[in-house]
Amino acid sequence: MFRQILYTQWKWSRLVLLLLVLAAFATPIFSIRSLGDPGIQGWDVRTALLDVEGWGFIYPFLAVGAALLLSLTTWGPDHAGKHVYALSLPVARWHYALLRFTAGLILMSAVVFAIWLGALVATATVALPPGLHRYPHALALRFALAAVVAYSVFFAISAGTNRIAGYVLGALAFLIALQIIAGIAGVTTSILPTVVGALFVWPGAFEIFTGRWMLIDV
């Protein structure tokens, strides 16, 4: 049954997946083009690192984008078909969701593999000045973890009812509104920064997104 689930998910998402894989492979290669000169030194090193850092913003967005698109394509046809296909299967709901989740992770691994391969190819083509190092494996690992976290979140929201998605969005809107009202009322409070800190500072769920997404670094 798992093979069938995987096959259907592959069919639904192959075009999106192809684009994601291409983007994932190309991003590391483009990110280090400023380090292409073997004689690079001095100010050029700093400028090149800043350039690599600038490209680093693409990776977390790519991870989130890939997770969102794959989780949507995972559940989209089920929602459209009112889950008739799923209900006709002789499996429990949790089992069915697990199959879908695992299949999505396997498809996501193609994007991670593309990042890793792109990073390896990119770093193999540059001669670095002393003090700079290549981090293809670390970058791929960070991307993989970020993508899996994002995929789990989007999958959980997609797998739930509309009400759950509404609660999540409602809670977010409530926090923003509370912060704005407190600001207007002149109350010194830091609700949003606290929430953001809880999410993006270790051991927050999204801390993995906040590190240095550098393929080449000191």
């Binding site: 670390a138 690992l141 976290v149 010194t188 051991p203 769920a205 590190g211």
Partner: protein, 368 residues
Amino acid sequence: MSELRAALALGMTLLAASALRGQTIPELRSRIARLEGAQKLAIAAQHRLDSARSSRPEVALDTARHAGLTLLTIPRDAALAREAVVEAWPALERTYGAYAAELARKDFHLIVSRSPDQTTGLPRGPVVPVIVATDANGHDVARRLTLSAGQVMSNGLDPALHGWIPTIYPLDPQFDEQRRRDVYEELVTAPWMAVRRCYLGDVARCRQAFGLTGGADPATDWYAPEDRARLAFDRSSRGGETTGQVALRKSCVDEHHDADCLVLLHGLPRDLVDPPLTTTARATLVSTALELGGPGAYDRLLAQPRAPLADRLAAAAGLPADSLIAVWRNRIRALAPMSAKVPARSAWAAFGWALIFGILALRSSRWR
């Protein structure tokens, strides 16, 4: 003020008389009680004196004192201030040794940056502001206080040392570690030849990069010929130049004629051509010297204002200058930035969260 004097006079009288009196227990108890009373009077008088320092009569000021530190604040922040002075003083004493006593001549003023309409008190007379965020705790205030104290101490530096490093901040392991990480990045990415060779282990080039050798002609003493076009480009001013200066700049920057670069650089004010390593890197060398030198290191650093800086740093550290630089370099290299590596705890946290969200997705039992 008269009450304070009276209390002090009483205390002195009691102390002077103690040698002449008997030593029976009731008499001792009575004297202790009187001394305690005098102390209370003195404290109350000091509080009135502190409040009188407020430029606005309706805003009272409280004082936190410990050893040589005085931190004025509004009563609301008094506990924070007391905690901070107690924590800050040992770090200041450890760094500045006997010189830390000079801080007693300055009063610091704690300002917690709340909304603009909430008063922070404004003491009369000169004070050094110590500004902290609303959510600062005692440790944060102590760190900010030590930094402000460091700036005060920099007024006492001789011109040679002050010209090389404007401020010697107190030793603080957390702060020093962050600065060393920044310096590691500087060593790797700095454009100057001496800095890059220093990173590779050439101690003589480290001396050069710190500006600890020569100095009569910084452009040639500290910078390599291949650095000078960039240096001239960075430091020389644009606009208002004569035709000759524009031609020189073009020849230096575009065609890399070193002789023209030197003419341009020699025409610049002396302080514009500073050592290749930044003041942050120099600060880490000083903190290494003070740390290695232990008690009295700061005194030794300031003891001979006319001696070469390398010798003064060596004296402070109790090591030859090259050994000090080697220790400094090893410490910097040992603290390579975390860079792109994924810390294990981050990886585990991400894995854990993915698992939690995955389980949440499986637990939903409703079909939509």
